[in-house]
């Protein structure tokens, strides 16, 4: 078992695709949103769209944490990164995200000490090795990454490491889904639930989606066969007239989540009353901040940040793409003034962003299906 090839088996994929085709009602349209950016990436990387009947449409959701971070927060991070005493650390795909004064990559090129890390624990190590510098970790992500940040903050306290702090931008998954479901122009039929977030929060938080909104949810793994199979599970629900939360990723996702990780989150973080999402606006209780007991490790308290709200560029239509209202290439700046080299909107930055995924992997498909149509 290598955990790669098994979930990319072409023969099994053909069988699953055939069953999806069989269950598809030729007279209706199925609009399925994959919430997670990792799923978006997999869908394009493996060409899953080509294997689905034309009635089945995949819409990309707000589940790329890099993509939903508003410009103002990036400016705040940049203000900290530009302080001479600071070593600023962040995940790789944060580096290219544009703030109102450019990206962290550009700030690094100007000589600021900005380092890419793979884990917040790497940032902690840098802090240990540089006791005369202030080391700040730019924390982003849903419940997938927030437990590792929480553990790192707990460890910093245990080690009495006082030159380390966290600029916390962790967000939570369920509130934006509810916001999407409440939006009046919503036309979705079902959701592919995120795999990695669900390893932490479990499946039960999604139960309101079928009960209150009548939509199907299948939590899926991140390999192509996982995603294809979760679409099949959704199509079976449609064929049987059911709407429920189901778990395709049961090899990793426990129904009630990871209790230990959840306790750790509860210890270190508390909900923010509201948080701004790029393109979606402010969503109540959709993000966390560092709890008072750990205030010493909160970079927002340690350093003065501008905290200015910066409006997205007016030509940007990221919000409509995030809500599934527009396809990436229908945005007025897609591929012209907004490209992966010079992104205007965050959806064009991360390889998990819907626009970057379309731009990098999918243009040919658009070419075939949309242009000839």
């Amino acid at each position: 078992m290598k955990y790669v090839h098994e979930f990319r088996n072409a023969e099994l994929a053909r069988a699953v695709a055939a069953e999806i085709a069989e269950l598809t009602d030729p007279n209706r349209h199925y609009k399925i949103m994959e919430i997670c950016g990792g799923h978006t990436h997999t869908i394009y990387r493996h060409g899953i769209k080509d294997m689905l009947p034309e009635q089945v449409e995949l819409v990309h959701g707000p589940g790329c944490p890099v993509c939903v971070l508003p410009m103002g927060r990036i400016d705040d991070g940049m203000a900290v990164a530009e302080r001479p005493e600071v070593i600023f650390t962040c995940f790789g795909d944060m580096m290219r995200v544009p703030g109102s004064k450019g990206s962290l990559l550009e700030a690094k090129a100007r000589g600021n000490d900005i380092r890419m890390v793979y884990s917040p624990l790497d940032a902690l190590r840098i802090a240990r090795e540089n006791p005369d510098r202030e080391v700040v970790f730019f924390a982003i992500g849903f419940e997938t990454t927030s437990p590792s940040t929480a553990l790192t903050i707990q460890r910093a306290r245990r080690e009495h490491l006082h030159n380390f702090s966290v600029f916390c931008n962790h967000i939570t998954l369920v509130p934006p889904i509810r916001a999407l479901l409440d939006s009046p122009d919503l036309t979705l039929d079902a959701f592919i639930g995120p795999g990695h977030v669900s390893t932490v929060i479990g499946c039960s938080p999604y139960e309101f989606i079928p009960t209150e909104y009548g939509k199907a949810v299948v939590v899926a793994g991140c390999e192509p066969l996982d995603i294809l199979y979760s679409i099949l599970m959704i199509m079976r629900q449609f064929a049987e007239g059911r709407r429920a939360v189901e778990n395709q990723y049961s090899r990793v996702v426990p129904w009630e989540g990871n209790q230990q990780a959840l306790r750790c989150l509860e210890d270190v973080f508390e909900l923010r009353p509201t948080f701004e999402w790029r393109g979606l606006g402010s969503i109540p209780y959709s993000a966390v901040k560092i709890a008072p007991a750990y205030a010493e490790w909160d970079a927002e308290l340690r350093f003065a940040v501008p905290g200015v709200r910066i409006a997205d560029p007016s030509e940007c239509q990221c919000g409509d793409v995030l809500r599934g209202k527009l396809k990436p290439w229908e945005c007025r700046v897609f591929g012209t003034s907004c490209t992966p080299e010079h992104p205007l909107g965050t959806l064009m930055v991360s390889s998990e962003g819907a626009c970057a995924a379309y731009y990098n992997f999918g243009r040919k498909a658009i070419d075939k299906s949309e242009v000839s149509a």
């Binding site: 294997m51 890419m116 793979y118 790497d122 992500g141 990454t145 192509p224 290439w329 591929g335 040919k364």
Partner: protein, 355 residues
């Protein structure tokens, strides 16, 4: 769907990019789009001449009946030694390979050393020995050179620049414009070994794996291809920085034709694939230092493949794709899973994804 949007989203034919960055960042050195913008936006306009404007691995100059190939390359790798090779070996093989894929037999190399004060003499001796051994293996002499020393803290120990000159095979007419629909694309072995070996050797990933750089001279591979395919050999490149994905994009752009790849034919070590999966990078964009991509006429492709497989370091050679008229100027890959996807040029440094 309007045509205008698609046109704007389609990689254009050769269009001279404007260099808009206010500062140089690491992406300008990654071998992808930003590097192209640097070269075509700043260097080419200033230096423009017929030999340079080809933008191939080596400039070709005609001297009477003889065509000479001239090339240069700088090596700035960290760490200096890594599993499978070292900076000195790279510096010789890299320039030899740029000549080889231009269809040239190397005549001689120059070598310039920028040494950081504080470098242990032992390390320098080791690299000089590595260069001498690599030159012997490639059958080329290092004929001239230069040394400079910079202050401690102003360099990564050692930078090496090598230049090479060679005589171009009179039979070969290599270039993107000679490529025809139906031609096959050959890859001389597993991809991504060098780049992943370096990433792991840097040690800041806390990944361990037995992955070695593939650095080697490609002269015997080129000789085998030439022997087997003759004038059916149409195009050669060594996919270093930017990887196979970038070279094939350049081929698609410069030929005006489409490149179609089959993912399940790409030679890829399981360990390299595993490391790439963990890091969220695509082996198609990872550097190689001893691999060759060749476009060969369909009639000669099988013979060329068989010949390549007999050469040391070519055992895992494969036909990985072919040239088609459509999709013009694009690289399309049939995924192992059963779908298709576009392979674009590398944008920026390959940045690992977070989750």
């Amino acid at each position: 769907m309007s045509d205008t949007v698609m046109t704007s989203a389609t990689p254009s034919a050769r269009r001279r990019p404007r260099f808009g960055a206010t500062h140089i960042d690491m992406s300008h050195g990654a071998g992808g789009k930003a590097t192209h913008n640097l070269i075509e936006g700043l260097l080419v306009p200033a230096f423009s001449n017929p030999a340079l404007d080809q933008l191939s691995d080596a400039a070709v100059l005609t001297l009477g009946e003889t065509r000479l190939a001239l090339t240069t390359d700088s090596f700035v790798v960290r760490p200096l030694r890594f599993p499978g090779g070292s900076i000195g070996e790279l510096a010789v093989n890299g320039t030899v390979n740029d000549l080889a894929v231009s269809g040239a037999t190397p005549l001689g190399l120059s070598a310039a050393f920028i040494i950081e004060a504080g470098l242990a003499t032992e390390v320098l001796i080791g690299e000089i020995a590595a260069m001498a051994a690599a030159a012997r293996r490639a059958g080329v002499a290092i004929m001239t050179g230069d040394t400079k020393v910079v202050e401690h803290g102003k360099g990564d120990g050692l930078y090496i620049t090598t230049s090479g000159i060679g005589v171009v095979d009179p039979v070969l007419q290599l270039g993107a414009t000679t490529v025809r629909p139906g031609d096959k694309i050959l890859c001389s072995g597993t991809i991504g070994d060098h780049g992943v070996a370096i990433l792991i050797a840097r040690g800041d990933l806390e990944l361990e794996g037995d992955i070695r750089s593939d650095t080697r001279a490609l002269t015997p591979h080129v000789a085998a291809l030439r022997q087997a395919a003759g004038a059916g050999l149409r195009f050669m490149r060594d996919p270093t920085r930017g990887g196979v994905g970038t070279v094939l994009n350049e081929l698609a752009r410069d030929s005006g034709l489409g490149v179609v790849l089959w993912e399940d034919q790409l030679p890829l070590r399981e360990t390299v694939q595993g490391a790439c999966e963990i890091l969220g990078i695509d082996p198609l964009y990872v550097a190689n230092e001893g691999k060759l991509l060749a476009v060969v006429a369909a009639e000669q492709a099988d013979a060329a493949l068989a010949a390549l497989r007999l050469v040391e370091g070519g055992e895992e050679a494969a036909i990985i794709g072919e040239i088609r008229t459509e999709p013009a100027r694009m690289v399309l890959m049939h995924t192992h899973f059963g779908g298709t996807r576009l392979i674009d040029m590398l944008v920026g440094d390959p940045l690992p994804r977070i989750c």
